[in-house]
């Protein structure tokens, strides 16, 4: 039986050469994301924006009349409502803006039930008051910042300083670009999105750490090799694993996008983009970044031996 071979066994591809393209590209994309973040902003969901969300399902044998729903909902006088048809048959999502005071949201719910109970079933309703939404923004931000700090600490202890810095550059890059995906696709940004970002932080490091583990090992083995060559060797020798893992993760995420249902689709799409971003950045951003960070091959001058024997790094 002939087995699948996605990456050649002995590859000597010059990945580092691409840094002259990928560094400016990543920098531009990051800056564009930051600009978009300030000018356009994220499409905050109800968790962070507050307000009321109602998912309606037309009763059996009836169809959803979006125009009528919009007309009725706007007639409540709670401000501009958003009405959106969902993928499912007769399913409509209605979003009401945040009302002043905690009780304001309850009034929205009551009116919505009074107006739509006759023709529709309520599949889901969510109400988030002003205080809770503010706190969710806060705890979400703290969560992402803390995770980056915690990971930084771990890397600091576990790896040489230059490698830790390179990994952090890659992780920040991946967070920024993932946020960019949220901004461009207009996928709703809510608590699950924070989960997606934290998972991407984990995945991004996973990718980088696998390469850097090899870099560290090679540093100890070959003490006189030029940095660029060392990094190329690290990536080439881990590439077949990178291809396998990215593909298997992609396969499972594709299944999630296609079959996981409307409620989880946004999460799955972002994760899918995240996996692509993380794989790209491990190869083309965080590893070449080591060249600029100034990865020093310790003992390069002291020892001329080139052997596979384990030797202390410093």
């Amino acid at each position: 039986m002939r087995l699948l071979r996605l990456w050649p066994d002995e590859s000597h591809f010059d990945f580092m050469r691409f840094r002259r393209v990928t560094f400016p590209l990543s920098a531009v994309l990051s800056v564009v994301t930051l600009v978009l973040f300030i000018t356009v902003g994220l499409n905050y969901g109800i968790d962070f924006k507050g307000g009321t969300l109602v998912e309606l399902q037309a009763k059996p044998g009836r169809t959803a009349d979006v125009a009528e729903i919009r007309h009725t909902a706007n007639g409540f006088g709670f401000g501009e409502t958003e009405v959106q048809e969902l993928g499912g048959e007769g399913q409509v999502l209605v979003r009401f803006p945040l009302q002043a005071g905690e009780q304001g949201q309850t009034a929205v719910m009551q009116k919505a039930h009074a107006a739509f109970d006759a023709g529709y079933d309520f599949r889901r309703t969510e109400t988030v008051g002003p205080r809770v939404s503010g706190e969710l923004v806060q705890s979400g931000t703290i969560g992402v910042v803390l995770s980056v700090l915690a990971v930084l600490l771990y890397l600091w202890f576990r790896f040489e300083r230059e490698l830790a810095l390179g990994a952090i550059v890659g992780t920040l890059h991946d967070i920024v670009l993932t946020v960019g995906v949220f901004i461009v696709t207009r996928i709703e940004f809510n608590m699950t999105s924070i989960a997606a970002i934290l998972t991407i932080v984990g995945y991004s490091l996973n990718e980088t750490v696998v390469v850097f583990d090899r870099t560290r090992e090679l540093m100890r083995r070959y003490k006189t090799i030029p940095v660029v060559e060392l990094l190329n060797l690290s990536i080439n020798s881990t590439m077949s694993r990178t291809v396998m893992t990215s593909l298997s993760t992609t396969l499972s995420l594709v299944a999630l996008v296609l079959f996981g249902g409307e409620a989880i689709k946004g999460f799955a799409v972002v994760m899918l983009c995240g996996v692509v971003i993380c794989t790209y950045s491990a190869i083309f951003v965080s590893t070449p970044a080591l060249i600029y960070i100034g990865l020093r091959l310790s003992g390069a001058k002291a020892s001329q031996r080139e052997s596979g024997l384990p030797q202390a790094a410093e």
Partner: protein, 533 residues
């Protein structure tokens, strides 16, 4: 290291089998789980298949989740009212009357006693109102500060620590009241938990429209018996009266008896008018206070005040010493029912406000489970085919490890009675993709080592040894992110974090131990000369 002793194999298999069997109850519908347990032969040890199962989150099984917050301004208001009553009592007992009465100021009360002698008489008593806070975190703190100015002005102001302490106690009190009010509903299995310092999370599976529940929880249910005042001046409050169509009526501030003295309340019908009413019983203390109040005020009207609304104000015909009475007030049967539940459960220490509400209908939950199952199966099929196509026999081994891996996550979740949510299902699907990473790391390393000229056995060995450090490193970084997610996240997101953390734990068992054992067995049985991929 490719030699696995028989004991080691048995031990590994036993751990895995037990882990997998833990998940069994989660695959049996809750209503037939008991019957299934009973159908197991009696020799079967019950700890292998315990009755514990994964709990479905509200987003999957449908139901209502309400986050309530103690209304702190309301609580402070009632604290100030209580303070004013205390001060008034002290002044009355000492026969001292303040110039211009007792004024309510921000978070406290103020009064002026110009006469130094009279002031000296009440000051010690007033200072006693400040209580030390019984909380190690606020050591030495007092519930209020008492200030005495030169001109005879006395201020009693609540401290922040005092208010926070009271809030803390109010939340635990409120949880008890909420529990009694909901549990009265019967078969529902609500979950009521404190969240943060001033919030209560109420989850009721299956409840589709929480409006009625919210109405019931939103009422303070503070019941007071006070005398109607003759004139609207002096120590009176103007309260709306149901009898007079909502018009405000003066009521004395002094409370003769209140709801905390009730032992029981039941809906009933007035024997004369056949109108619904609520009959109640006082405890001993309440009966005495009520008896004394009614005997001193025969012929006057007593207001029955519920949440600052006069329900009715009957004339006291004779002293009521039996310790029971009725509340009437144009109730419907449902009103009378609800009110008696509220009175039995007791009053809330302060108003509760809904700050967050999430309701999921049964249809959506069912759809989510179906979609989740489908996505899981498709993802598993794709990854299994991919692994087999790439690694052949070793892919097959990785696939067994993968299936065991997912099974162990479910088994652990069952023992922990963890909550499975929609993001949790997404976590399982994602795990299917990432779990094979450890196997891939090991296999690719083996291939490299074999290529560099090592013998098969030494390549297999080196693959495990060299990849191990990387597996630990990459899983640790994932674990850090997942742990933070667990501590920062709420509800559904937490379910995702749980799946992820357990997945990282079990990957060590499956990818390292189980895979190694299967490869060792493969080597012993087939004695191959080269890697199969």
């Amino acid at each position: 290291m490719l030699r696995f002793s028989r004991t080691k194999i048995v031990a590994t298999l036993a751990v895995i089998l037990i882990g997998l069997s833990l998940a069994v109850p989660s695959f049996i519908p809750a209503d037939s789980r008991k019957a299934f347990m009973a159908s197991l032969p009696s020799w079967f040890p019950s700890w292998i298949i315990p009755s514990r199962a994964i709990v479905l989150g509200l987003d999957l099984q449908g139901g209502s989740q309400i986050l309530l917050e103690i209304d702190q301004p309301d609580l402070v208001r009632s604290m100030v009212t209580g303070l004013r009553d205390d001060v008034r009592r002290i002044l009355r007992e000492a026969s001292v009357s303040p110039e211009g009465g007792i004024r309510v100021i921000n978070r406290g009360v103020e009064l002026r006693i110009p006469d130094a002698a009279a002031r000296a008489k009440v000051m010690p008593k007033l200072r006693e109102l400040a209580q030390p806070i019984n909380n190690p975190l606020a050591a030495g703190g007092q519930t209020l500060t008492v200030n005495e100015a030169e001109n005879g002005t006395i201020q009693l102001v609540l401290t922040d620590a005092g208010i926070n302490d009271r809030t803390r106690r109010a939340v635990s009190q409120a949880i008890e009241v909420v529990r009694k009010r909901i549990d009265f509903g019967g078969t529902k299995e609500p979950s009521i938990q404190q969240q943060g310092s001033d919030r209560i999370l109420v989850q009721v599976p299956g409840l589709q429209n929480p409006q009625e529940l919210e109405d019931q929880l939103g009422k303070t249910a503070k019941l007071e018996f006070r005398m109607l005042a003759d004139s609207p001046s002096g120590d009176v409050d103007l309260l709306p009266s149901k009898d007079e169509g909502g018009a405000k009526v003066p009521v004395e501030r002094r409370v003769m008896a209140d709801g905390s003295d009730l032992t029981d309340a039941q809906p009933a019908f007035d024997p004369q008018t056949h109108e619904p009413m609520v009959s109640f019983k006082f405890n001993l203390r309440g009966a005495q206070r009520f008896g004394q109040a009614t005997s001193e005020n025969v012929g006057r009207r007593m207001a029955i005040v519920l949440d600052n609304v006069i329900q009715s104000a009957p004339v006291i015909r004779s002293a009521i010493t039996g310790g029971s009475g009725q509340i009437t007030g144009n109730f419907t049967v449902k009103d009378a029912n609800d009110l008696s539940v509220l009175l039995r459960a007791g009053a809330l220490p302060a108003k509760l406000t809904v700050v967050e509400r999430r309701v999921v209908g049964p249809g959506l939950g069912r759809d989510s489970i179906e979609a989740g199952e489908k996505a899981t199966l498709v993802a598993a099929a794709l990854v299994i085919i991919f692994m087999f196509a790439t690694y052949g026999v070793f892919g097959f081994i990785a696939n067994i490890a993968l299936i065991v891996h997912v099974g162990l996550i479910l088994g652990l979740m069952s023992v922990l009675e963890a909550t499975m949510t929609l993001p949790g299902i997404a976590g399982i699907v994602l795990t299917i993709g990432t779990a094979v990473d450890s196997n891939v790391l090991i296999y690719e390393r083996m291939r490299e080592e074999a290529r560099s000229g090592r013998s098969l056995v030494s390549a297999l060995q080196a693959g495990f040894d060299r990849a191990f450090a990387t597996i630990i490193d990459s899983n640790s970084t994932m674990a850090i992110a997942a742990l933070l997610l667990f501590f920062m996240g709420s509800g559904p997101v937490k379910g995702f974090a749980v799946v992820f953390i357990l997945g990282i734990l079990t990957t060590v068992i499956t990818a390292v131990t189980l895979t190694r054992m299967m490869i060792a067995l493969w080597y012993t049985w087939f004695r191959p000369k080269a890697l199969p991929f």
